[in-house]
Every structure is written in C-alpha cells, then in structure tokens.
C-alpha cells in the first residue's frame, strides 16, 4: 500500500526584503517613489534582472518523509527549526517553494484552539461555525453535537455568547470541537499547552484514544516531549530547516536532549520582531559547561541577550519563565520584580547587551527557559521554549547530587526528641 503522506524534497524559502513586517503603507511607497524616483527605478531594474540584494532564508530544505497509514509521528526541534512551517505546508496554508507532497486522504488540522470562534455568537452557534471552518460537514457536526458538548462540559452555557465564557470553558469547547472531527490525517500543533492540568490530562487521554482508533494517521508537533513520547512511535527531529534524525521516538528525543544543543547560543528569527522597533538577536548562556546549555546545579544561570533597538522605545519589561518538559511552570522572574530601571534604560537606539544572573534552586534535569517581553505593557514577544536547559548533577563547589528527584532543591532542619 502506498504511504498516506509522501513528502518529496520539500523546501520553503522566505525572502527577507528591506521592509519590516510583511506589509507596508502604500503612502510610504508612493512617497519613496516621489522622493527618490531614480533609486526606485534602479531597484526595480535590479530585481527584474535578479540582482537585488534580498536575503533568502530557507525555513525548510530537502525534507523527505513518508508516513504510513495509522502511524502517529512526532515532530520536534528547536524554535525556528521549521516545525510550524512544515505543518503549514501540509495543511495548505502556505505553498512550498519547491518539491511535492502527495496526501491520500482527508486532512484536518488542530492548529490553534478556537480559531474562528466568534465572541458574539453562542456556544451552540460557535460549535457549528468552528466545525465548518475546520472542515466538518453540517451533518457530521449535528451527529457529534451531544458528544462535543458533553466533553467540553458547557451544557449549561450553550446559549450564552462565548464572550461571557471563562477562558477555561472557551478552551474546552474549542478543543472539544476539534477533537471530534474525523479526518484520515490529523495535524496537531501544540494544543496540549492549554487549559488547566486536569483538562490537559483529559486532552491527552482523548488524543490517545484517537490514535488508537484504527487507521488514524497523526502528525504531532510539540515541545511537550513527554506527550510526544506517550503518543508517537516514530519521531522526526528538525534542525535549521532540515531533518536531523528520524527514528524511534525514545531514541530521537535522547538525541535531541543530548546532541541537539551543543551550542550555547540561540538565534531568534528576525520575523518574531517584525515592526516592533527592536529585536533580540541572540540569547546566550554564559556559564554553560564546555559551551553548551548545561549548568552545574549549584551555579546561577548566567544569560546574555543581544538587543538591537532601532528607534526610541517606551518602557520595556523582560521575564524568564522556567517550565518542565511537560509544560508545568516552575518559576517566573521579571526585571520589574527588582524595581530596577533596566527596562527603561533600553529605550535608546543601538545595540544593547543585557546580562541576567538567575539564582535558582533547580534540581538536575532538563527544563525549558522561556522569554517574554512586554513593550508599553503589551506582550511583544513570547517564546516559552526558547532555551532547553540542562542542570548538571555535578556541582562546582558542592558534591554531586542525584538526578530525577523533582524540580526544586529544598533543605530542611530535622530535630528529634525522645519523650518519656
């Protein structure tokens, strides 16, 4: 039998033009033409002859992959490795630049929960609308309606506009609609990072149930390595737009955690800061063992951000969040916690170097370190999985400790009294 998904030599190339952000103002274009008619003509001529100095960036290159019917395949990799781009191509949101994909079956994607929900419409109406958007027919939705409502636990609020829903209810309803669609191939991107712990467990159980239904093929993209391990037999590791390793999930995850990050610096794609007036180019671990993302457990984590500010900025605030591999939040530190002026000092144009010394009590193990930035009290950058950080059991001053004993170090004083 032919594979249900055949990916042949897929590549996706983005041109990084001079403008920032994808879109520009027509006014600026016209003004530019009027101000510098000559250079405009020159640029046009150059691009017509293929001499233009646009930067090319291959988000994906030479991807070859066959997925058999009934396989559950995981895709992991660092940020910017091309995971989401691959999923976007598979779901036809964006076309590839080269190569070909043959898909033998109906595709449904669970990209982001709640896509297409309208706050003004009631729960009942949104079930139908959202179902139609993700590719269910009206009859399919009607026949699944009761199951969807029951799974989401929103029976009482079916005729309330969803703008009055709590965020938990909203997410539950959205996931429930998506989980009840029955395509041959299901594409899943990070949906498990939503809701409270209990609902996450329920989602994971539902996903497992779906994978065990015969014939269902699933492509699962996630940072949640324990979820990938639970659900997928086979996993693909992407690195800088190419496939670094394909194989049995356990093996690939081990490879990712060990070899996957021998560097101690992460480049953040410029696209994440489009039109913001600044960008963080790299995040670096200064005291990694042998230049890796590995820190002795008894040392603080020393980080350095390189920040390029283009125009004068208002107040900015930075936060690091540490999470476990199954997405439990362990701690958050903010520059505003210390009431220091780091955030406001950054407002001047130029390249800034920001050093952060993070005192922690983490136990040996692997964690995610995420970065969040707000500008004028608005979230302007957020990546919960920026760095995969290893805490090493060998201390520099203290003796070695055992691994896998929870997340935090804690000490206790023990006293014993004998009463007669």
């Amino acid at each position: 039998m032919k594979p249900i998904i055949e990916i042949k030599n897929i590549g996706k190339n983005y041109k990084i033009a001079h403008q920032r952000g994808g879109y520009i103002a027509l006014r600026d274009v016209i003004m530019n033409i009027l101000k510098k008619p000559f250079s405009f003509v020159k640029a046009k001529a150059k691009s017509a002859m293929g001499l233009a100095s646009t930067e090319e960036f291959w988000a994906l290159r030479d991807i070859n992959l066959s997925v058999e019917k009934g396989e559950v395949i995981g895709i992991i990799g660092h940020n910017g490795a091309g995971k989401s781009t691959l999923l976007k191509i598979l779901s036809q949101i964006t076309p590839p630049t080269e190569g070909e994909i043959v898909i033998r079956g109906k595709v449904g994607s669970l990209l982001e929960v709640g896509t297409g929900f309208n706050p003004e419409l009631t729960g009942r109406e949104n079930i139908f609308l959202n179902g139609a958007i993700i590719g269910m027919t009206r009859r399919e939705i009607a026949s699944k309606f009761d199951q969807i409502v029951k799974f989401a636990e929103v029976e009482k609020f079916l005729d309330t506009p969803v703008k009055y829903y709590s965020s938990g209810m909203y997410v539950r309803l959205a996931f429930s609609v998506a989980a009840h669609m029955e395509p041959d191939i299901l594409l899943v991107d990070e949906v498990l990072a939503v809701g409270d712990a209990e609902f996450q467990r329920k989602c994971l159980a539902k996903m497992e149930e779906v994978t065990h239904q015969d014939g269902r093929t699933i492509v699962f993209i996630s940072h949640n390595l324990s979820a990938v391990e639970r659900l997928c037999q086979k996993t693909v590791l992407l690195n800088k737009g190419r496939i670094e390793k394909i194989g049995e999930t356990r093996e690939v995850i081990n490879h990712y955690l060990k070899v996957g990050h021998t560097e101690h610096k992460v480049d953040i794609p410029a696209g994440s800061f489009a039109g913001q007036g600044y960008r963080v180019t790299t995040a670096e671990l200064l005291n990694g063992i042998a230049g890796s993302f590995r820190v002795p457990y008894d040392e603080p984590i020393k980080l350095r951000l390189m920040i390029e500010v283009e125009r004068k900025l208002e107040e900015m605030n930075f936060a690091f969040a540490c999470t476990s591999l199954n997405d439990s939040l362990i701690f958050i530190v903010r520059n505003s916690d210390n009431r220091d002026a780091v955030g406001r000092m950054i407002s001047d144009p130029g390249t800034h170097i920001m050093d952060i010394t993070l005192h922690h009590m983490l136990r040996p193990g692997t964690y995610y370190l995420g970065l969040g930035i707000t500008k004028d009290k608005q979230v302007s950058f957020y990546d919960p999985n920026l760095i995969v950080l290893d805490i090493d059991p060998l201390g520099t001053k203290q003796p070695a400790v055992q691994e896998n004993r929870g997340f935090m170090n804690a000490t206790a004083d023990w006293k014993l009294e004998l009463k007669r």
Partner: protein, 278 residues
C-alpha cells in the same frame, strides 16, 4: 466516511495562479460559504441595537435627507418622477455596491486569524461578504416596493425581469473591484483608510442623486462608470423614466465582467502569499 475519503488525493506543489480544480474546490466548500454568510449576518444583527431594521433605516433616512435638500431645496430634476422614489431607486443599488465593495476589500484582513491557521479557498471570504450585503439589499428593497405602492407605480414585467440582471452586474462590479482592493489591502494596510473617501467621491460621479441628463453633452462620459448603466436602467425599467437603454446596459455588463476577471486574477496572484504576509 472511509469510502469517501479514499477518493481524496491532494497534491501540494508550488502554486500556480489558476487551475480548473479551483472551481470544483469552491463548490466543495459551499457549506463553509453558507456558514461565513450566516456568521456575518448573525453577528451584525446581534451587535446593532435595532438589528435587521438597520438595513431599512439607513437607506430610508438617507432618502429622506436627500429628498429634503437635493429634491426640495436644490430642486434637482428627477426625470419627471417624484424625487424620493427617484433617489431611492438609485440609493438602493448604490448602497449595495458601495457596502459590498468595502466589506469585500476588508474581508481578508478582517479574517487574518483564520487565513494564517486554516486552509479553505480564500475566494470564499469576499464572496460571502457580498452575499451578506445582498440580504441587506433584499430587506431595503421592501421600502422601494412601499414607495412604488404609495406613488402608484405598477412594476412592469420587464422591470421585474431586469432586476436580477442589474443585480448580477452590480455583483460583478463589487466583487471584481473588491477582490482587487482586498488583495492590495493585505499588502498595503493604509488602503482601507483611503477607501471610504474614494467611495464617497464615486457617489458623486454616479447618477444617484441626479439624473444623467443633467450632465448634458458630458453624460456620455458617465457611461464609463459601470454603475451608471445599472442605476439609469433600474429607473427606466421600474419607474418608466425612459426606455431601457440596452446599449448602456451592455457596456456596463462587459465592463463589470472585465473588472471581475481582473479582480480574480490579481486576487489569485496574491493569494499564494496571504498567509506569509498577513
């Protein structure tokens, strides 16, 4: 379900501008078209206090104001019929055209969360926004019926027969123009601020509040505007202001058809990059 799905084989390749498959695909997604239209109507009538009555209220009040100032005070001629019914016939088609044009041109930017996350033929969005406006047109047309009854106009058989034709022409004009604008709106976000102004200017170069005859020897120039043919002939057929001008109607039809083809072409050409730039 399994039997059906075995037939669906999708091949994803670097995109071509147009393919016959696209038409079939549009048909396959007709249910989504229905849901988008249903959503737009539902949300709009839920948001405004008076709901569907807004579709009547707006053209009606415009008609009253225009009748008082242009018909009553400025004494603009109205081809021998009472000014209110004269201007309302024009307004009815004009509002359909202008509302459809503006909502179509915003249909992509307004749905960017969807476009970047889910696949469906993008053409569905602008088409559904025009259909939404068509519902408003139908509601507002009730007022015209009332006015015709009040002023004692009997709609002729020809008049009734010609309305669908006029609607098709208006539909082509607004979708064609709207698709074109929707595509550039994705790239140049300031277009939407310029559009209301542009539409307002268009109102004055279209014989809505005045008859085309007022322009004298320049009235031929007005024929370049496809809505001229539509509105002139709507009055001719419904109110009997003049015999139906088939030549003018033909010019309008051909002009709008060309506009539609150009609109679809530009839209399809930019469509490939929508998800990358919005």
């Amino acid at each position: 379900m399994w039997l059906m799905s075995n037939a669906t084989v999708t091949v994803i390749r670097p995109k071509k501008i147009f393919h016959l498959r696209d038409l079939k695909e549009l048909w396959d997604y007709r249910e989504l078209l229905y849901f988008f239209t249903w959503r737009d109507l539902k949300v709009r009538y839920k948001q405004t206090f008076i709901g569907a009555a807004w579709a009547i209220f707006q053209p009606f009040v415009t008609m009253v104001v225009f009748s008082v100032f242009f018909g009553g005070l400025a004494k603009i001629p109205s081809d021998g019929v009472p000014y209110p019914i004269f201007v309302y016939t024009g307004l009815l088609f004009w509002q359909f055209f202008s509302a459809a044009l503006s909502s179509t041109s915003n249909s992509l930017v307004g749905n960017q969360a969807l476009i970047t996350k889910v696949y469906f033929p993008r053409l569905i969005l602008p088409v559904s926004s025009v259909i939404t406006q068509l519902v408003d047109f139908a509601i507002a047309a009730l007022i015209l019926l009332g006015l015709m009854f009040y002023y004692g106009f009997m709609p002729s058989l020809l008049g009734i027969a010609i309305v669908p034709l006029l609607l098709i022409i208006t539909f082509m004009a607004s979708v064609g123009g709207g698709l074109f604008l929707a595509a550039i709106n994705v790239k140049y976000r300031d277009v939407r601020y310029a559009l209301p102004f542009f539409v307002q200017i268009l109102l004055f170069v279209t014989p809505v509040i005045y008859p085309a005859s007022i322009a004298g020897k320049y009235s031929k120039l007005l024929a370049i505007n496809p809505m001229t043919g539509v509105i002139q002939n709507a009055r001719a057929a419904l109110l009997g202001t003049a015999p139906v001008n088939w030549l003018l109607l033909g010019i309008s039809a051909i002009g709008c058809f060309v506009l539609l083809i150009v609109g679809i072409y530009v839209f399809k050409k930019v469509e490939r990059y929508f998800a990358d730039i919005v």
